[in-house]
Symmetry: C2
Subunit: 310 residues, 2 copies
Amino acid sequence: MRHHLAAALAMTLALAATSTRAAEDKPTPTAKELLAASKPSEWRTPDPANLLYMQLPQGRVVIELAPDFSPLHAQNIRTLVRQRYFDGLAIVRVQDNFVTQWDDPNGDDGGDKAKMHPLGNARATLPPEFTRPIDPKQAWTPLPDGDIHAPQVGFSEGFPVARDPAHDKEWLVQCYGMVGVGRDVPPDSGNGSALYAVIGQAPRRLDHNLAVAGRVLQGMQYLSALPRGTGPMGFYDKASERTAILSVKLASELPPAQREKIQVLRTDSPTFYALIDVARHGHNAFYPVPVGKLGICDIQAPVRVDGKPL
Amino acid sequence: MRHHLAAALAMTLALAATSTRAAEDKPTPTAKELLAASKPSEWRTPDPANLLYMQLPQGRVVIELAPDFSPLHAQNIRTLVRQRYFDGLAIVRVQDNFVTQWDDPNGDDGGDKAKMHPLGNARATLPPEFTRPIDPKQAWTPLPDGDIHAPQVGFSEGFPVARDPAHDKEWLVQCYGMVGVGRDVPPDSGNGSALYAVIGQAPRRLDHNLAVAGRVLQGMQYLSALPRGTGPMGFYDKASERTAILSVKLASELPPAQREKIQVLRTDSPTFYALIDVARHGHNAFYPVPVGKLGICDIQAPVRVDGKPL
């Protein structure tokens, strides 16, 4: 009983020729094999003005902003970053099966308000950007299996998206690894100075209530493996439990030679379509029964650094 | 911008009188309020023969077995526990957004097979128990919003369950916090000596391919916050990275005075029905837009210890 569950999990995503439960004995290709066969043109290099490098003591977290979905938030976050707003802040909250949140701890109860980092040129409030009108010019990779929350789900520009054509709305879905915007009670009170990453089952109840700023491309394990806070809602009880944010920089602030060689598989590429098919219908000796259906938070756009898949 | 996302998350689950988007200004009751108003008879005390106490250096994990769904696995796991099979084993794998797995590390490549813990009186193979015929005598709390994977979803005996009446099948769903049975390639090769807990988006592709043994009731944060393994599939590269399992005992092996005072809200209770309603239609100042729908992995049966909600 060596690797048990492990043994064949690398084979879990494998391509089937048919959409029915597999009768063939031959295992379908693996995700790894499909990625290895991908073409250079299927990968995009994110705009460095949209990439945040958040340096934690454990390592670097790379976040891609989604300015086509939340442009005012992207702009405000860039302004905050350039002012070094986040440097010296902290991860203040880790709630199990929900979110890891970073913020100015001096804004919390018991904090020293006089020491709060000033917003400077950034805006204190922003229009919510919880949803946006559907952009017909945007490439759209639909998932065919439905969703209990939205009429349509699929991928645009590497992000998981839900659509409601009858109301001409689309929005980024709060899947694992997505980065959302904390706020106070007023819907316009989010400005990007407090952000969170989803670390559990997708909390879809946030979808129309909180803006999504982007997605963690790299270093998610530094956000998901933090000790859970024992205070209400996963806030840390003691300042000593917080994880320091050493710095947040835009990739565009660094000389090109110092930037990560990070790429994201285009979600409108043949290889991503093949990965979707594989995730739905793949089978092999370990997984004889294909799952058949794929939810919007069950697959992510693959990332590679220096040409190596993460 | 004090608690941002935090401020009103306690209010996230709140009861609405209607199933449409809330027009009322009055916030709906919170989950906390509903639980506070629950009756003692709505809580069940799990059978101590079904409770595993897994002691890690960080603290205790309590797992409830599901013998009505996977009776042979429950029996085999009890046999292993009584033989002290798990004492001295380790958490060998933590794969981000997937599973934390514990096992005999000497069974892995590079391990000393001679030092493996013997299965003793436990069986080496078991009938898979991936699904079972629907038990009409079992209390069934349906979720009304559907599921992309199964014709019906709901709760039985505190566990998330999917049903396919046309094929007279039901099965435990691999939601966050559920405990599954690792195995080798043959479907009958799982025996409960290697187990895993789901720590991310529910991997529904496992549903018909791996048996579910139960659910983590307490201490999930000790399994979910572990450093992710950097080897293939999240296995730890070095033995020093593993977390030791100090002991696993059945609650029934301890004198009653030493057992946890743990209770689970009955999933066929009025309060659980109210919690479902609240999760679907709750709204308040922070969350003005009710999510409207609830997935099978979006709600869990609440647990309390010494009368205090976890």
